[in-house]
Amino acid sequence: MKNENLYKYILGVADNSLILGQRMGELCGHGPSLETDIACTNISLDLFGQVRNYYQYAAKISGDGRSEDDIAMLRKEREYVNVLLVEQPNTDFAYTMARQFLFDVYHLLFLRELEKSKDLTLSAIATKSIKEVSYHQRFSSDWVKRLGDGTQESHEKMQDGIDDLWTYTDELFHQTKADKAMVEEGIGVDVTKLKDKYYQLVDGVLEESTLTIPESKWFQKGGKEGIHTEHLGYLLSELQYMQRAYPKMEW
């Protein structure tokens, strides 16, 4: 493939939104209330809308005749390069909102930089996504504050979620070979430069939520290289079911 680094770079960006979108979609009909159920599926649909643009672009670059659906649905587990954070399960609503919040803060910082990319397609996708993700961040931050600064039970659940998921945050700022190559070309975002701002923003919300900022300095990694937690396989089996059972099926 001529533009292999660009292709890999796009998957690195898109897979995060695909897997998180699938997680939020799992709440369709299962949210804690009608209002939050719809809010979570709205977020899911926003993310799926974004990934369609990314995968269509990746399909064009791959030049091997694969479609956006082939790329989204027919890779094996080790070929997905999303961060471990987004594949973690919907343990409870506090956990789900903690995961969303920890990703949203990163996602918005990331898109604001991607908007400056020399690649005009990626820049245009970023511009379109920023408004959606600004709302996601507002929604998840509000829930972190409400539950963190809520009852004793909600505080404990939100603290548990943050403590559990903290170990997956550092990976957001790791770079693959393809990432580095794309940063060199002025196409990719240098995520290492987002790290300080990220923790500053996250810490601010946690403090406001009366939550304790985790002190652990030991972090998980691997997702960006295709090494995942046990949760991804189950998620993919559901995500891929239709395309595997009925190949080439379309709506």
Partner: protein
């Protein structure tokens, strides 16, 4: 986390500039800020609005249906109160 303790809110949406806010429905929320976000997600996800008002349902004072006779019937035979005796130009919309 049940919603049984969340109060009920009424949602009013302005669908475009120049139109009034109209009652769209109701929802549950813990406070005004959450009511606005919930209204955005429940009632404007198909591009229905450009402005939202929410008001807690308990703050609405409603007329009593038992008093309908004395409240509304006297107006039924007073056709001269309608502004229908002059022509409106076509350009004036939404009247």
């Amino acid at each position: 986390m049940g919603t049984k303790n969340w109060p009920l809110w009424e949602v009013f949406v302005r669908s475009k500039n120049g139109l009034e806010h109209r009652h769209f429905g109701s929802l549950h929320a813990a406070d005004a800020e959450m009511a606005l976000e919930n209204a955005r997600d429940v009632y404007t996800r198909r591009n229905e609005g450009i402005s939202i008002w929410v008001v807690e349902s308990k703050n609405i004072t409603a007329s009593n249906p038992e008093h309908n006779g004395e409240l509304f019937e006297p107006a039924q035979d007073k056709v001269y109160r309608h502004p229908t005796f002059y022509d409106l130009p076509d350009e004036v919309k939404y009247m």
